[in-house]
Subunit: 144 residues, 2 copies
């Protein structure tokens, strides 16, 4: 469904969100440990997220990553997916046809359309504060 990079991105963002809720900033090392991801690769992904203003990065001692409180409501899962994987998953043809639309549809065009609308709706309406709160409560997890 999503690339590994995107999965790491979501996991990292949620972990940072959770820490930001507690007023804490976290560094790369801690993030990679807590979400069980390769550190250097995660660094690249965090840079992308920072460039897309999904997270904030602070250099130097006591630096790290955080998310502005106002953004915890504003940032939806779809923002992360689009920043990392683009919108191919929402807009591209399910069978990979370059040209596929309601005027000239592929054989599964309509069937896929509704599935992807569901997915898009879910990702568009799920904000990260909600998920980070669930994490803090402790009934959902980011690693085994």
């Amino acid at each position: 469904m999503f690339s590994k990079a995107c999965q790491y991105a979501i996991r990292a963002t949620l972990f940072i969100s959770q820490k930001s809720l507690q007023g804490e900033r976290v560094g790369l090392k801690k993030i990679a440990e807590e979400i069980d991801s390769p550190e250097a690769f995660t660094a690249k992904i965090l840079q992308q997220l920072a460039r897309n203003s999904i997270i904030e990065s602070v250099k130097g001692p006591s630096g790290g990553f955080e998310i502005l409180d106002k953004n915890l409501d504003k940032i939806k899962l779809i923002s992360i997916v689009e920043a990392i994987d683009g919108n191919q998953i929402f807009d591209g043809c399910g069978l990979g046809l370059k040209q596929c639309n309601s005027a000239k549809p592929c054989p599964v065009h309509d069937k896929f359309k509704s599935i992807r609308e569901n997915l898009k709706h879910m990702l568009s309406t799920t904000n990260i504060r909600e998920l980070a709160t669930d994490l803090s409560i402790g009934n959902v997890f980011l690693k085994a």
Copy 2:
């Protein structure tokens, strides 16, 4: 969503289905042309499909690929997806966690579950005769 190999596999299977409906067997070259896919790569995929009894292959002059009539109803889209991409997309965690289940769910476990159940249901109930018939009628297409 699906790998390119899987997209080619579905397109190829539908084209072969359509021809089989007309009692015709088709060769690799024609298939690759008609679904606009790389020929040699498509050959590998057709082999996989044949090994999984989704299509039949016949060597030698007037050989090629076909689908048994009785299988046109039996073979669902999900058979093709599972043969090529496996069932990671249905069973794997949306965030890539190795261990993720209702007892120890990731933050998006439930939200993803329903999306994937939709997808699985759609793929499990769509048979290839139906799609091949649509193709023959000419209101859906396999290439631009």
